[in-house]
Symmetry: C2
DNA sequence: ATAGATATAGAAAACCTTTTCTATAATTAT
DNA sequence: ATAATTATAGAAAAGGTTTTCTATATCTAT
């Protein structure tokens, strides 16, 4: 019997000599059924190897025990930590998750989300939502149809559920640490403009002003990396370029993420500098690479896993809430500096 | 109209003044409909913002345009490269994918697969299938119900679709390289027993025998790591231990993956050795970390992305094939050595 | 002008469940 | 002994599509 078509509830009913209603009740245990019939039904289920077709159930109940996770990239360590956090939490509540990669393309992201909505997922979590889609009101529209949580993207006045890092404190702590260590010329290294990098830049500018450090446009390094590896390579190149050309090169550097920091570390070393004696380098994220580098990287711990867990928790709550449309929150996860060898 | 319940095909039919059959035909373009009615229907669809409910469609067509990907871990670089390869390929064919993490637990893996089958996924790809489930015949059973492809796990006589790395050639090339470089005492560092590590061990033993190298049980290092970071830490520790205690410590080392290799690299350095002068280290996988370490790691490129792509390609073919039950293949992806700085 | 073909459209069945509503048998209360 | 309640079970509707089968109007060929 194992081979061939999958058996249905009506096969079970027939074999057990009861109605499909009764079988359904035995499966879901939501209505009294006598022990005798229960046993008959269970035997039949066993014999046929019957498993309920979840599609049919979903269609009628209008819930799928399914969520969608949208990410700009799958193989990025930062994102996969977040995804892991989400998945662990929702898996425990017996949700399965669709994983969709957008390659950072806003239109592809929209298409993905639409596709998931048409598949009746119970909710969608977006990692690094695209600014374009935030501004166009796309997410607000989706938010009214199904539960939506956005991780690490924000804009004032948007009615959506956000889960964010405390980038302000994180950046500030890193900068202060360098200053406390006696660094005089502190630089900042970022990727192309984004929600998170914009915050870091602002904090940096304010910090320079407030703390009487020399602010110099030349100490604000910027790369246009596509992926993690690119980031490391470009970071290495741009730092070496800076060291070579600048009259007063930096002696401290905060990087937008750990990949850039590792790249910078390698660049400084190749330039002949001693880390951390000649230049101190601080990464961001506390990702795996920060612990594998030599010396291990001083970095700002983003608690990426926690970010995912929090988003997932919020999601599960929203799904259970019939008035989910009316609630929206902005949650924040604290960051802290982990001092290691750089 | 945006708010409230989602509109259905019958809403469209009513508004356009036609039958639902006709609307269905317009959507799917699988039956002649006059231009005039087509336009009426499309206007109605537009006006209502109608999108077909994919659950209902799937239920009747018995296909969901959905596959499942099972992995022991989400945040492992090796696996995420494979997943990326799979996803890119199937996404292009308009499949969405469920991602399920098993934490390496065979029973959880079984439960996950069952859950996906009940959700009527069109096929399942398993990365690093559990030996226990291979041996129990579980995969063969699933293979008869829906298309199944196993990546990086194998056992003779099992009727399933496999996609494998050529670990034999990879390991051999690495060992030969070290010998060609004049290394006399070559070691091997592996994690707990698995399909892939067993092959590497066998190749190593044979190689030592065939090439007249001193084989010494003490040069076969073994760790029991849980995750990537563990692996690096334990590799560092075990190598330092070996260097300290061994009378004739190794001067060349092939590692089971790049994380171990980075750990070993750091360990050798901390022990005061110069890499590659005093000891040469070769990793496995050509993962991101191998390019970020300093010096960058010499490693065996596994073409993980290709592994995923090939599995995905096979999967899509199986899905299209009504006789998928009768075909099974063993595909292999070549490996090659990338010589960098260690 | 009529038979046969063709183009277009709708009615109804099917997919597999859950859920509501109705029915019967068994129990309890009067 | 009868009415009212309770426990158990089934019939049928519902969920939103696709698909098969049937019907009509239009066209083509004789």
């Amino acid at each position: 019997m194992e081979v061939g078509k999958r058996s249905t509830i009506s096969d079970v009913a027939k074999l057990a000599g009861v109605s499909i209603t009764t079988v359904s009740r035995v499966i879901n245990d939501n209505y009294p059924v006598s022990e005798r019939t229960k046993k008959k039904v269970n035997t039949a289920i066993e014999e046929l190897g019957f498993r309920p077709n979840l599609l049919a159930r979903s269609l009628i109940q209008d819930k799928t025990q399914t969520i969608g996770i949208i990410t700009p990239s799958i193989e990025n360590l930062f994102f996969s930590e977040v995804i892991k956090g989400i998945d662990t939490f929702v898996d425990d509540k017996d949700y399965r998750s669709f994983l969709c990669s957008t390659e950072g393309n806003p239109d592809k992201e929209k298409a993905m989300i639409d596709s998931l909505v048409n598949r009746s997922v119970d909710g969608i979590i977006v990692i690094d939502p695209r600014t374009k889609n935030i501004k166009s009101g796309f997410y607000e529209g989706i938010s009214k149809r199904i539960p939506l949580v956005l991780i690490n993207g924000f804009n004032e006045g948007i009615m959506c559920n956000f889960v964010l890092n405390d980038d302000v404190t994180g950046t500030l702590t890193a900068l202060r640490h360098l200053k406390d260590q006696g660094r005089k010329r502190i630089g900042l290294l970022l990727g192309r403009k984004s929600y998170s990098y914009d915050i870091k830049e602002n904090v940096y500018r304010t910090f320079c002003q407030d703390s009487g450090l020399d602010f110099d446009e030349a100490n604000l390094l910027r790369i246009q990396a596509g992926n993690s590896l690119d980031a490391a390579k470009q970071a290495k190149a741009i730092l070496m370029d800076h060291l070579e050309k600048s009259q007063h090169p930096i002696d401290g550097l905060v990087c937008g993420n750990d990949f850039m920091a590792v790249g910078a570390l390698n660049g400084a070393r190749e330039f002949g500098l001693n880390v951390p004696a000649d230049i101190q380098i601080i990464g961001f994220d506390n990702s795996l690479v920060s612990q594998l580098s030599y010396p291990p990287l001083t970095t700002v711990d983003h608690h990426m896993n926690e970010l995912g867990t929090l988003a997932a928790k919020r999601m599960v709550n929203l799904i259970g809430d019939p008035d989910f449309k009316d609630h929206w929150t902005k949650l924040s996860v604290a960051t802290n500096l982990i001092v290691r060898g750089t």
